[in-house]
């Protein structure tokens, strides 16, 4: 019997975007308030999983044609680069710097290299979660 999931699909179309946006907010808020790459990444994968549940793997890979294993690699690479940054400036590895700047629209905010590290974490978390879920999902 084919299940009728019209309600789920309709809600998902809206909810997935809300979750994704919230994930971005959480990710960027991470440095000075609760949040960060790990939580943001988990939330993003939650949004994708919701899409997977409401539709199917084929549709989702159509929307997001991403090789999640390469995503893990890219994430690791970005994080490791920020770790290795210390080599080029003659300071201990993993040293981070920040600066307060005035940006148009956003105003007075601090830019921190830890965000780059967190971006790597974000990608790795999304990559790992989705790889696991896809691998489990495919066999069914």
């Amino acid at each position: 019997m084919k299940q009728n999931d019209l309600i789920l699909q309709t809600v998902t179309k809206v909810a997935a975007f809300v979750i994704l946006l919230f994930a971005v907010a959480i990710f960027l808020g991470g440095h000075y308030s609760p949040g960060g790459g790990f939580v943001g990444g988990l939330m993003t994968s939650a949004a994708i999983v919701l899409l997977l549940l409401a539709f199917d793997i084929k549709t989702v890979t159509g929307i997001l044609p991403i090789d999640y294993k390469l995503m893990i690699g890219s994430g690791l690479f970005i994080s490791s680069l920020t770790v290795a940054g210390g080599l080029f400036f003659g300071v201990p590895l993993m040293t981070h710097v920040y600066q307060y700047v005035d940006l148009p629209l956003l105003g007075h905010i601090s830019l921190h290299t830890a965000v780059l590290f967190d971006l790597g974490v974000y990608l790795v978390v999304v990559g790992v979660t989705m790889t696991i879920i896809q691998t489990i999902g495919e066999s069914e």
Binding site: K69, G73, L76, S80, A84, V91, P92, L93, T95
Partner: protein, 493 residues
């Protein structure tokens, strides 16, 4: 501050990441891995030289100074072990090309290989107890993957056991770290050492010391905690087995080295005697296993356990000779165990069976394999001038000085038994009449033989040139015997 200290970790990390992107291009992966391993050897060699010239190197990661941040500390012991690790990594990598099989190579064998090296190098180099746990985990994660990769029935069964044992011991590790932290209030090893010596190691710290012995003993396979090892190491293909046998247990032993010389050395009557008893029992159990089996892999695996006992006995004696003996012996054992596993792997590949009773007469067709094995075997048993000799001699000297005659006797007898167990392989495997037509051509065998020969040559040089290596060993022992040297280098930069 010296970023070189962390390079043996950072370099394989970047290699591993790069390899993820070329997962399906096997030739390219091999090339990158091999090249990177060579550079890895150069880096760690340079690290040893630098430590020799400048003394202990430290790096306060993220510009946070000890004891508040995490420090990476390269003293002589760490750097020597890192160098050995990288040499072994290179040899096993070379061997993997001809034996691991394309299926595994396409499924991230090489990246995970590099991640394992990160964990091992990191565990050797870190100067922070919790960070040690983190690198243990990195190493274990990689080893889970390597163990299960390929997914044969025996691998799945043994992986399950291996994971359960290690998850248990890891949680126990964290618990012990927490206990120690609640008593001394710091995680930096040098700081812990100082604070423990201020309070002169009360009973609670000795209890924690035994707790750590259980944790590291589980990883290093000492007497009552070794049961998982013969099964788990038996399951994966030969290169992985060699990697595990040569490196993983040694990380456990290194941790005992570190904790029992740097932190818990005030109540030696209790802690070190306990360690000595366990070490002797470990040797005895290992010997029984090594003699009992006819399976070549099992014989070598039980020889790991014997070596663990010998090295730990050296630590428990805790004087200059014994410790330098232990350091010599751990390096020797890493090299020669890796070589023996590779050689045994070749024998299994040729004869198609791992039971000695199905082998025989290999020497006629493959003399090179036979003689390499012979040299490796007598090195393992510690016959002069090969590499096992000096280490054992020093351990025995140290033990004699301390009057630990029982341990001496056990080690001496165990040497004979080790000799017997490997000669059993040599006589049954290489002598006699061939049991079958061995189809493998010498060309193919020689390709696989190269890394083993390489390791044996290094180990022979290490044995013959012990005299010239000795200044480095003395330097390593200095910072073990006098924790103030280590503490000063870490805390007063």
């Amino acid at each position: 501050m010296n970023n070189l200290t962390f390079m043996p970790v950072l370099w394989p990390l970047f290699t591993g990441i790069l390899l993820i992107f070329f997962a399906k291009k096997i030739k390219l992966q091999r090339g990158i891995s091999l090249f990177s391993s060579l550079i890895g050897i150069v880096i760690s060699f340079y690290l040893v030289i630098t430590v020799h010239n400048q003394g202990i190197l430290t790096l306060g990661v993220g510009s946070w100074d000890a004891p508040f941040g995490i420090v990476i500390v390269a003293d002589m012991l760490s750097s020597l072990l890192v160098l050995t690790t990288n040499i072994i990594g290179f040899a096993i990598l070379l061997y993997s090309f001809y034996s691991i099989g394309e299926e595994r190579e396409r499924h991230y064998y090489y990246p995970v290989f590099q991640f394992l090296l990160i964990g091992v190098n990191g565990a050797f180099l870190t100067g922070d107890l919790f960070n040690l746990f983190v690198f243990f985990e990195v190493m274990l994660m990689a080893s889970y993957v390597l163990l299960v990769l390929g997914g044969t029935k025996i691998q799945l069964r043994e992986s399950l056991k291996y994971i359960i044992v290690n998850v248990l011991s890891s949680s126990f590790f964290v618990i012990m770290v927490a206990y120690l932290y609640s008593v001394v209030g710091t995680l930096n090893m040098a700081d812990i050492s100082q604070r423990i010596s201020e309070v002169n190691q009360p009973g609670i710290i000795s209890v924690i010391a035994i707790g750590f012995l259980i944790v590291f003993g589980l990883k290093g396979a000492i007497f009552p905690l070794f049961q998982w090892l013969p099964g788990s190491y038996y399951a994966p293909p030969i290169p992985v087995m060699a990697l595990f046998g040569a490196l993983l247990t040694k990380v456990g032993i290194y941790s005992i080295f570190r904790t029992y010389t740097l932190m818990f050395y005030h109540d030696q009557d209790f802690t070190h005697t306990f360690l000595a008893i366990l070490a002797i029992l470990t040797i005895i159990i290992g010997v029984i296993g090594a003699i009992a089996y006819w399976d070549v892999k099992k014989i070598i695996i039980y020889n790991i356990i014997i070596a663990v006992g010998v090295i730990l006995f050296g630590i428990s004696v805790m004087n200059e000779q014994a410790l330098s003996g232990s350091i010599l012996y751990i390096i020797h054992d890493m090299l020669i165990k890796a070589a023996l596993f590779l050689l045994v792997g070749i024998m299994i590949k040729i004869s198609g069976s791992d039971d000695l009773r199905d082998m025989g007469g290999l020497i006629k067709q493959y003399p090179a394999v036979a003689w390499t094995f012979f040299i490796a075997a007598i090195s393992l048993a510690g016959i002069p001038p090969f590499s096992g000799f000096a280490g054992k001699l020093l351990i025995l000297q140290g033990a004699a000085e301390k009057g630990a005659y029982l341990g001496m006797a056990v080690i001496l007898i165990s040497s004979l038994m080790v000799l017997y167990s490997v000669m059993k392989i040599f006589m049954n495997g290489f002598w006699g009449t061939p049991k079958a037509d061995y189809a493998l051509t010498n060309g193919k065998v020689n390709k696989m033989l190269v890394p083993a020969v390489l390791l044996v040559i290094i180990s022979v040089l290490f044995g013959v040139g012990t005299e010239s290596v000795y200044p480095y060993i003395t330097q390593a022992v200095d910072s073990l015997m006098n924790p103030e040297i280590y503490n000063k280098a870490v805390l007063k930069e």
